[in-house]
Subunit: 332 residues, 2 copies
DNA sequence: CTGAAAGCGCTAACAT
DNA sequence: ATGTTAGCGCTTTCAG
């Protein structure tokens, strides 16, 4: 199996190796008759090109590398799936490496993949900074999700977090809430900041005063939601609804509410952001802004494919969230 | 960058290419002094071996393929992570392909990876059958998780589901329950069957009659749990506890309970199986049997590595679940 | 312990 | 439209 080389196929088909190569790559034109001869020979021999030889010779590995910030997050499954499926449809292989939660880890992962001469990179990273990325751009085509640097716009699929957060908050306002707290992620995270911005924008537009004590910054984890609530309570503010910057922290809020016997949504409304799988199964099912992660991942893969294998110009794209109404928000 | 070849390194170091090769692979013995010379030269040139050339020449790609049944399941993140991290530690690359929920899809994924001449395979599949696997064994070393075929024992990391289910059920019995229902997965799934077996074993041991009406088989999904409860109700049986064959269906039971105003665990105790991430966040937090998926995945990767790169004999391993007590079971 | 030489299997000019 | 000829960059006998 898989032992036969292009030479044997050529011999059997009575053509030259280059012709065989031409049909396997259906690159240049081959006469229909000879193509059929060759294909039959390949059939008969169970021929499969040796990809190492192809790579060595063509300087193309037909492989895209993907580095994922944390492989075990609840977040990345659909994205990996989106990338894998669109790439495979094109016959391209996907090499994967995990970033292990730090800038160094992510850089290491990138280098590891580059050693392997991947043709391009998909980055689902969280820590790589602009400078590194600008350098990286000289070495390999890449696309990333959700790190919205101006100078890298043409390589980024990004979610309009300002608008998403604005819509989430506005939804709360439309439901009659005016005392709305906000729990978002750390201040060095662009997305966390943008979500705060959107929140503020909605309040201002509705002439609701923006109070610093109503805004807390923790981490985008369940524990962050818990802490956020503690902090809000410590701040002594009163509120009937909270906008959480992501679903995990929203679930933390739910957990806090449960522990403190405040019933959601009767006594407290909460809206999340992202729409992770979990969110529909918590109690109560979480109302949230759906982020089209699968689609973004697919786009990422498509852009990469087009630039790398069909010299398309790099270009980014903007995506928007959509509201998923479930049961964690109540009108007042 | 990455432009220099082994030849240039050899020249700079004043040795032959073969010697450079020897140090990069630290395979055969090289005099300390020359090794240092070579390493300095590599440093200076920023040399990185071209892996396509290595593969072509050595017939080894230093790459392991992994096929995952469904990349977007809640289940696989930790496993992929476990495989990736242990492989990368050894400098081996991980190629990934998704099985898309069918036997053909999984076979296609396998073939896709084999085209790439991976050195071995990690299979997190659900549909590949024994016959296919027996054939596959002639083509490539592989390891898999959780498909316990006798004839393939030496390639399988398996969870003792009979024992796990036994322990889960026994826990319920120890809490005073005697009317215990069981909701498990479809009958063609070995794991679903084993979990029913364990359940029965525990009942028998405690001299509790095993009633067919108390056992329903649905799917291992949230909806399966919902359906399971409906069926149980249709059967007209009474029970104070249910053992669900996996966490997702257990969460379905929780949802059903919530919808029908039966309070868990006050009126109904439920124990799950697997300990997926979600389970600690549902209400009430689910008591369940923890399956050591991350560890199994790591083992898988280690076995693969050892057999492939160090000619160890293939061997499987058995794993066991551990009880995670949370809040969905109450003593009566 | 190190060097020389012969490919690994394919693609890519360049001819024809 | 197809064949010829060189390599791609490395590992691997085989000598020494």
């Amino acid at each position: 199996m898989n032992k036969s080389s292009i030479l044997e196929v050529a011999k059997l088909a009575g053509v030259s190796p280059s012709t065989v190569s031409r049909v396997t790559n259906n690159r240049s034109i081959v006469k229909e008759a000879t193509r059929i001869k060759v294909e039959e020979a390949m059939q008969k021999l169970g021929y499969t090109p040796n990809s190492a030889a192809q790579s060595l010779s063509s300087k193309r590995t037909n492989t895209i590398g993907m580095v994922v910030a944390m492989l075990d997050g609840p977040f990345y499954g659909p994205m990996i799936s989106g990338v894998e499926s669109t790439l495979r449809k094109q016959g391209k292989h996907l090499l994967i490496a995990s970033g292990s939660g730090s800038a160094e880890g992510e850089e290491e992962a990138v280098e590891f993949l580059l050693n392997r001469q991947v043709d391009g990179l998909i980055l689902l990273t969280e820590w790589l900074d602009r400078r590194y990325l600008k350098e990286l751009e000289k070495r390999v085509p890449f696309y990333m999700i959700n790190q919205h640097h101006d100078s890298l716009d043409h390589r980024v699929m990004w979610l309009d977090d300002v608008e998403g957060a604005y819509n989430a908050t506005k939804y709360l306002i439309n439901k009659g809430h005016t005392k709305i707290a906000c729990i978002s992620g750390q201040e060095f995270k662009t997305d966390a900041n943008d979500r705060v911005l959107g929140y503020k924008k909605a309040l201002k537009e509705a002439n609701i005063p923006v109070l610093d004590d109503m805004i807390v910054r923790t981490s985008f984890e369940v524990s962050g939601g818990l802490q956020g609530m503690e902090q809000l309570k410590a701040n002594g503010v009163e509120f009937t609804a909270v906008f959480a910057g992501n679903d995990e922290s929203a679930i933390g809020v739910l957990t806090w509410a449960n522990q403190h016997n405040v019933s959601v949504p009767a006594q407290l409304s909460v809206i999340g952001y992202d729409d992770i799988l979990l969110s529909q199964h918590v109690t109560p099912p979480l109302t949230t802004m759906h982020a089209p992660n699968f689609e973004m991942a697919k786009s990422c893969a498509e852009k990469a494919f087009n630039e790398i294998y069909h010299k398309a110009d790099p270009s980014g794209a903007k995506f928007v969230t959509t509201l998923i109404e479930r049961s964690s928000v109540k009108a007042i």
